[in-house]
């Protein structure tokens, strides 16, 4: 069963430049969350703060009663064993082949025999579809393969929390779809807490249980998927539907003139909310809620055409 991450009042700045301030949210145990945000809003910084690679200026990140922001280095290394992290480029060790890369955490942290290691590694390699590529060096394979190998390595210690730093950047749509399905299946299988940082809205609309949006140096909104997808809040609406009309401009924010110019523009209607991706075996995940559940419970009418199977996946169309 996954572990909850409680983030409170988290603030980080580099020098005088504030990255984000006062971020407060709870990543529920065992659920899939997506953190969205325009490029350069510090999504990766947030991820690195969660695993203690960067120290926040203020605030706390509590996991199983330990505050990552203030705990000792020894505790930090201990708590990190709960994590599996997929870095943007996979971050494979360039001097080892894929097999040794995936086996590395097992050899360092467990006393398993080589044959046990082999079984686990091959199982994870099969999971990400890399059987046959064990002897390749990270430099010899494509970016997508590196990413999948990074995922295999992140999963090898059976983590309680899995963090993904842009799993879909640099992947073709088919591989992205496979990876998204893999994420959902994995969550059903190991019940870990998943946090995905991305700016791919298709992923954000169909994969998670919860969505968060970082914008303009703060957390604009965090909540259940249906809440954000049916939200009329300008920033959330603009981002989740990839529209040009709204407060987000080409360079961070739009100025007053630009906003005034588009004041009278009619906003396109909210697109229907798509169905959530389901595990391939048909068994619902533990944290999965029936479609439309949140909307009904909160008296929100979802946009027409929502939760229909075989619906167009193209947002904003």
């Amino acid at each position: 069963m996954g572990v909850e991450i409680q983030i409170e009042g988290l603030t980080k700045s580099f020098g005088k430049q504030l990255i984000w301030g006062d971020v407060t949210l709870t990543v529920p145990a065992g659920e899939i969350c997506v953190m969205l945000g325009p490029s350069g809003t510090g999504k990766s910084v947030l991820l690195k703060t969660l695993i203690g690679l960067l120290k926040p200026d203020r605030g706390s990140v509590v996991i199983e009663g330990t505050d990552i922001a203030t705990c000792s280095e020894r505790e930090l290394y201990e708590i990190r064993k709960l994590f599996g992290v997929l870095f943007q480029d996979g971050a494979m060790f360039g001097s080892m082949n894929l097999y040794d890369n995936v086996a590395f955490p097992l050899r360092e942290h467990t006393k398993k025999s080589e044959s046990e290691v082999r079984d686990i590694v091959m199982e994870k390699m099969e999971l990400v579809g890399l059987v046959g590529a064990e002897d390749k060096l990270p430099g010899e394979i494509s970016g997508g393969m590196r990413k999948r190998a990074g995922l295999a390595r992140a999963l090898v210690l059976d983590p309680e929390i899995v963090l993904f730093d842009e799993p879909d950047s640099g992947l073709d749509p088919v591989r992205t779809a496979f990876l998204n399905q893999l994420i959902v299946d994995l969550n059903a299988q190991i019940d870990a807490t998943f946090l995905i940082v991305t700016h791919d809205i298709n992923t954000a609309r169909t994969v998670p249980d919860n969505i968060g949006l970082l914008y303009h140096r703060h957390l604009a909104m965090f909540g259940p998927r249906e809440m954000l997808l049916s939200s009329e809040e300008p920033v959330v609406r603009q981002f989740l539907n990839a529209q040009r009309v709204g407060p987000i401009g080409m360079s961070e924010e739009k100025d007053a003139d630009e906003l005034a110019a588009e004041k009278d523009q009619e906003l396109p209607p909210l697109p229907p909310i798509p169905l959530q991706l389901e595990p391939t075996n048909g068994q619902p995940r533990r944290s999965q809620r029936p479609p439309g559940d949140w909307c009904r419970a909160n008296g929100v009418t979802p946009p027409p055409g929502s939760f229909e199977p075989a619906m167009s996946m193209t947002p904003g169309a």
Binding site: Y77, R80, P105, H109
Partner: protein
């Protein structure tokens, strides 16, 4: 504004402090188990392989130029019988450690900085920390120890090759007598000269590896950052090693009185 200038003026002190703190971290990592024997052996072999040939090639002209200088000077003094002794003294006391420091910082240190810098840029070090492994213990400590070990051996190599080079140069080109050259070896030189050369080499290896690791692990800003880190690590360690060489020589002369022939 004043705070800006003061912070800029104080920045080098901050860097020196961070380097020192990094050195302390490495010192602590030395005693943490499990010791990475495999990495240590691999690194020792690697550093030796990139430094041995350049060191030998540097040591031959180094020994020859000392023989040339000292031989000429001593002839002017009319003390030809001490040529061997003087050149042994010069090679073992100074030339050995200096050539070692140049090679260990220039070849070994730059290789370490480049390797760790590339790993830092590719997020490998982050990945390692996230997997619960301390890169200082796993990567830096074996490199520092390997560098120290290789430095001591290199110092021995430079001494042997330098003295041989000096001998050949003196006997073949300067018409010195082999017997007089060899006989005067121990006239001025003494055993502590050898020890201090080794001690210097040990410290040089330590400092060069720590500077290189520090610079490599703090590389930032993409591939250019790695190049900058390598460049800075070589410059900084050269400066440090020459200062340390001077200080250790000064201390040595205070501790060990020169032999009166």
């Amino acid at each position: 504004m004043s705070s800006l200038t003061s912070s800029r003026a104080l920045a080098p002190i901050g860097t020196a402090g961070k380097l020192f703190a990094f050195g302390l971290d490495v010192g602590r990592g030395l005693f943490r188990r499990p010791f990475q024997t495999r990495e240590f052996l691999q690194q020792a072999w690697f550093i030796a392989s990139v430094t041995i040939i350049p060191t030998a090639l540097v040591a031959i002209p180094f020994g020859a130029v000392i023989a040339l200088q000292v031989g000429g000077l001593i002839k002017q003094f009319g003390a030809q019988s001490f040529v061997g002794s003087a050149s042994v003294l010069a090679v073992v006391r100074e030339a050995g450690p200096i050539a070692t420091s140049l090679l260990i910082a220039g070849a070994g240190g730059s290789a370490i900085a480049a390797d760790l810098g590339a790993r830092k840029i590719r997020e490998e070090l982050d990945a390692m920390m996230v997997l619960g492994i301390d890169p200082i213990q796993r990567l830096v400590v074996p490199r520092v120890l390997a560098c120290m070990l290789v430095a001591v051996f290199l110092n021995g190599l430079v001494s042997v090759v330098g003295v041989t080079g000096g001998y050949i140069f003196n006997v073949v080109l300067q018409d010195g007598t082999p017997g007089a050259y060899l006989a005067s070896f121990t006239a001025l030189a003494q055993l502590p000269d050898l020890w201090q050369g080794m001690a210097k080499a040990l410290v040089f290896g330590l400092v060069a590896a720590i500077v290189a690791s520090y610079k490599g692990m703090n590389a930032a800003g993409g591939p250019k950052g790695v190049g900058d880190a390598v460049n800075e690590s070589v410059v900084v360690s050269f400066m440090l090693l020459f200062v340390i060489n001077f200080v250790m020589s000064a201390i040595y002369f205070q501790l060990v009185p020169p032999k009166t022939g």
